[in-house]
Symmetry: C2
Subunit: 442 residues, 2 copies
Amino acid sequence: MDGKCIQEDIKKLKASSVALCTSSESVRNELLLAIAQGLHRDWEIIQKANEEDLRKAHEDNLKESLVKRLIFDQDKLASVTEGLKQVATLSDPINKVLEKRILDEDLLLERVSFPIGVIGMIFESRPDALVQIVSLCLKSGNAIILKGGKEAFNTNTALMASIKKSAEKSVLGNSWLLLLESHSDVDVMLKMDKEIDLLIPRGSNAFVRYVMDHTSIAVLGHADGICHLYVDEKADLDKAIECAYDSKIQYPAACNAIETLLVHKAVASTFIVRMAKRFEEKGVRIHGDAYTCSLIDCIPYEEGDYHTEYLALELNIKVVENYEEAVAHIAEYGSHHTDAIMTEDKQLIARFLREVDSADVFANCSTRFADGFRYGLGAEVGISTAKIHARGPVGLAGLMSSKWLLVGSGQVVSTYTGSKAKGFLHTEMSTDGVSLASGDVQ
Amino acid sequence: MDGKCIQEDIKKLKASSVALCTSSESVRNELLLAIAQGLHRDWEIIQKANEEDLRKAHEDNLKESLVKRLIFDQDKLASVTEGLKQVATLSDPINKVLEKRILDEDLLLERVSFPIGVIGMIFESRPDALVQIVSLCLKSGNAIILKGGKEAFNTNTALMASIKKSAEKSVLGNSWLLLLESHSDVDVMLKMDKEIDLLIPRGSNAFVRYVMDHTSIAVLGHADGICHLYVDEKADLDKAIECAYDSKIQYPAACNAIETLLVHKAVASTFIVRMAKRFEEKGVRIHGDAYTCSLIDCIPYEEGDYHTEYLALELNIKVVENYEEAVAHIAEYGSHHTDAIMTEDKQLIARFLREVDSADVFANCSTRFADGFRYGLGAEVGISTAKIHARGPVGLAGLMSSKWLLVGSGQVVSTYTGSKAKGFLHTEMSTDGVSLASGDVQ
């Protein structure tokens, strides 16, 4: 597609987002189920497309880990259709009452949740992510522009064709979702800040950084995951070893895996020797400061190591004088993603939770818990290290904005201003129950 | 100051924001009171500076309305110091528990409020706004970069010098606040997206648009306020006339004043004739469509009128066929700020509240109610028409981000993954009570 064509498609998509925003819960849920059925209906086409992608991946000698993520087989189909059905059962995120206040007699204010509008999502390789993203956007009433990895081009195209076919039969139509094909399409999208309300890039850090640097649209995401675990002098060393091990080993390529282990000097000799043995089982490469190198066999620290996101079985170990040095190190080198302390000192835990300014601040557990599913958010749309809108693992709530509703009986502001101004009541009300927008207007 | 110097000041400010974020409530409240005292202490200097600004304003033949906003007299002093004391009594916005969930035995998750970090605020003319902004940022633990209008240069400089003098004696020091002097300083600031987390421009629409177009930092604000009032066929016409009158007259230069009155054709002849008489008292200029022009003496509609924010005693009147045409007009020409319907049809009210995608959607009251103080938000930091972070009138909550806290007893993720994965409890807890960061760790 050429740039002009994409622009027009995105404008059309924005126009169709209005109907989506105000559509009923049942219309959206029915379409979710229809999409699930449709994927089964079109399974043969999807399967063939995926085989083509896998054939090409082998031809291009793609890394085994990437090829694995590309596979869209019967199991994946079962899992994404199960996901669609689950999302359909979630409560409607639109028109939830978030605040409610009586301003004056017969003058009732509400803040209710409302879709953000148009979301741009860029993801890599995994075709199942496409279905998941579409389902969350549909549920939350957001129009969606998608760009998947080029390795999954055929699978994504087949999935999108199936979804569009199902959507066509719904009153919502199918112009609220769009699959971009090329990198140059993405560049067109990054410039359309009038039409697009939020970008969610998922993929390599370099790519997320590229998106952040080339758009003025709000971005929900994180470019780096330089996470730390600090082992305090009052740590339970058995727990510390297990948590440090899990934080590095459980999934080394994850953004919430640690890159640097900070160790209080009082426990350094005992802890580091034991820890190194444990890491050795997995062949973890350790970059150590001078003290660490005096205790174990490791790679001496080099400039830049503390800024490196290894995303592999590799990490730094640094011995610190005290708690303050650990926190200062995290502030200087961390990416404000996820940082943890191991200590039995409860006052120090509270201090760490207060003083460390990261999206996720933990005590006595693995950094790998920083995740929407583990947090109980239902679905995860991404992890954000921005301070605006949403921070840390973001669930469906991250796809919602809000609006203020005010229903009166002819009130005017001049009554409440000037020397004889009437006062407001400002009585806080429970947010339980239906919104003013639901039809039951008092 | 040259650009390089400003850059260094902003970097220093960012560094000092860390201490501010984690400062205790009492330290921040004491400084708020000290600033109030300090303004009285330095009153003579501030008064002289303001006289100088007023002298220059008269010399430059500034509009009377602008000169009025410049005045910083004993009354303004009393009002801003009263404001400082009031802000000191507000509950601490930092470390409020927003969500709380038991993930598993001895594994407790909390989401708590936390300062955004560094705010850039650009405002015009009114020097009292400077004190108000500093007080809200200090209370909420945010470092603040300010740029006031050049007409208030001397007053702002004197106020800032007094505030800095008071802050110097606090443990917080005074490098967390900075006053920019020139437009070129603002341009330097707009580029510092690594240091600044949020911009809040208050001022002319043209200026806000300039800011939005020249930065990749998140902006809380609105460039336009094209607001509508739709008088439905089932409207109570007495109420409709009062609400329309208030929506235009009460403060015509406000962003939430209406620019276009939409009238259902069934009530057009009665309503428009009566309304025009009412507007005539105040000399309101009416731009009417053909139907309106056939009923009253007015300026015939010209291309572009519906896109014009008059900000004066001037508005459009347009007759519509039905509700749908009114809503379509609002969607096409509105700025998604504040739009209202007048009708006694309760189902139609609910439909309007659902279908209109504006920051503030009203029924049977004046659009002028769209305001933080009237909404009962305590203080207003701005009105946003963005869909991200905050929308509509924004209180102190708009200056807050959040972080996730997780406290365990040595848990690792590998326990909860794989074929023998342990399940999570995900038990929702009440958010009453103190945060894990307060020191009472279970």
